[in-house]
């Protein structure tokens, strides 16, 4: 005996969707065995629900395909950005390496030029011990000759003002500073000396000043002094020309 359609349909739905308890399920199955109309109703209901579930699966599959597109799109985007960052990093590293290499080369070559051309001036003569003044200068000069440059700078401090203005002491103090790598101090002394017409060691002052500028990578200033020297006819003329060539 069939129930009214709505109640019967609900019961069949609950059976198909496994919503009946154990007793209800058993009771339904007993009825099912004896009722061909219920069997037919169940069969068609199962087919109907099966089609609805298939439509649900197809729609879910579409949704998953969209998720796939989004996820893979984002992954591709991230990978693209990562690649761009990677290439930028490599390019930046190459630029840094190139600049570093160039700087290293320039620094190396400037350092080499300085080292190849610099030597302490060894023609300074500080007189004999005939006068007290000469004796003092001779003691100070001895420190220079022995290469005790730091000691010599201290000794110069204790000299009398007129002794400090001695051209030999001025040039020697500049050389001492260069030996001790006080290039800026050396530049201060030599710059002042090189423009004084009465300064005895004017060419030497220009030469060592040019070397100081070279050491500090002030190539233009160095070039200008070397060009001046190259036009003279003294000992430093050829040295200046050669150095100008090397700088080029």
């Amino acid at each position: 005996m069939m129930m009214d359609e709505t109640a019967e349909s609900k019961l069949i739905d609950d059976y198909i969707m496994n919503r009946l308890n154990k007793d209800q399920r058993k009771s339904f199955e007993v009825r099912l065995d004896q009722d061909p109309a219920l069997q037919e109703a169940l069969q068609i209901r199962q087919i109907m629900i099966e089609q609805v579930k298939t439509i649900g699966n197809l729609q879910l599959k579409d949704k998953i395909l969209n998720i796939q597109k989004n996820v893979e799109g984002k992954e591709k985007h991230i990978a693209k950005r990562r690649n761009i960052r990677y290439f930028i990093s490599i390019a930046a590293a190459m630029v840094v390496l190139f600049i570093g290499f160039q700087w290293f080369n320039t620094t190396q070559s400037v350092s080499n030029l300085y080292a190849n051309n610099y030597e302490a001036y060894d023609q300074l003569r500080f007189g004999n011990r005939s006068t007290q003044e000469d004796k003092t200068l001779l003691d100070v000069g001895a420190l220079y000759q022995k290469g005790n440059y730091a000691e010599m700078l201290k000794a110069i401090e204790s000299l009398a003002p007129n002794e400090k203005e001695d051209d030999r002491i001025i040039l020697a103090s500049a050389i001492c500073h260069m030996e001790l790598e006080h290039y800026k101090k050396a530049i201060g002394i030599l710059k002042q000396a090189s423009v004084q017409n009465e300064f005895f060691y004017q060419d030497q002052a220009k030469w060592y000043l040019a070397l100081n500028y070279l050491k500090l990578d002030q190539i233009e200033k160095s070039n200008k002094l070397l060009q001046d020297l190259s036009k003279t006819s003294n000992f430093y003329s050829k040295k200046a020309k050669d150095l100008l060539e090397d700088i080029k």
Partner: protein
């Protein structure tokens, strides 16, 4: 992507809010596909197999969640992986254990994870006819009831009906239309003759 607990994932998949479901599916897609992909590619599969079987595995897992067949304490990622693995093993006509180490999910019944998303012939015609004749509203009601397995009250809330009775009447009409399409179909007639 921030790690989600298994309970949160299952709760989201059961939610009546579509964006919650989408969020859980996207999460599972992102965290699980690589593992499934490695397994299938190591076992004679290609990238198309990976996509097909992972998608069907995800659908099967979703159905099991909706049918309350997944324990809330289940390790969701491992379970999803096992479904895909079992599907692929079936395709290769091999036992899952021949392909990979044993695990606790070999009890998954094959019929529970059988997903039919590639339709042909009469079945395809029937589905197309249903989608054509039913209308969007009926399609949605029946999907929410039979596929999403929402309760009547949840469907009333989701579809903004006045009350349960309105929905019951609509659903009854939709089922009558569906019944007629099925009864008229060659697919159904062939099913009857096969018995």
């Amino acid at each position: 992507m921030e790690k989600r607990s298994d309970k949160v994932i299952i709760k989201q998949l059961k939610s009546i809010e579509e964006k919650e479901v989408d969020s859980a599916l996207t999460y599972l897609y992102t965290v699980s596909k690589k593992t499934v992909s490695r397994f299938i590619l190591r076992n004679k599969g290609n990238q198309q197999d990976v996509d097909d079987f992972f998608h069907d595995g995800l659908i099967a897992f979703y159905n099991l969640v909706k049918q309350d067949k997944i324990n809330p304490d289940t390790n969701v990622e491992a379970y999803l992986y096992s479904i895909c693995r079992n599907m692929w093993a079936k395709k290769l006509m091999k036992k899952p254990n021949d392909l990979e180490l044993n695990d606790s999910f070999n009890v998954i019944k094959t019929e529970e994870i059988q997903i039919d998303t590639i339709l042909k012939g009469e079945r395809k015609n029937l589905i197309e006819q249903i989608l054509k004749d039913l209308g969007k509203e009926c399609e949605k009601i029946l999907l929410l009831f039979y596929y999403e397995q929402l309760k009547m009250k949840e469907i009333v809330q989701k579809m903004h009906y006045a009350n349960d009775q309105v929905l019951r009447n609509k659903k009854s009409k939709c089922m009558k239309s569906l019944r007629q399409v099925v009864l008229d179909s060659t697919f159904y007639k062939n099913q009857l003759t096969q018995k």
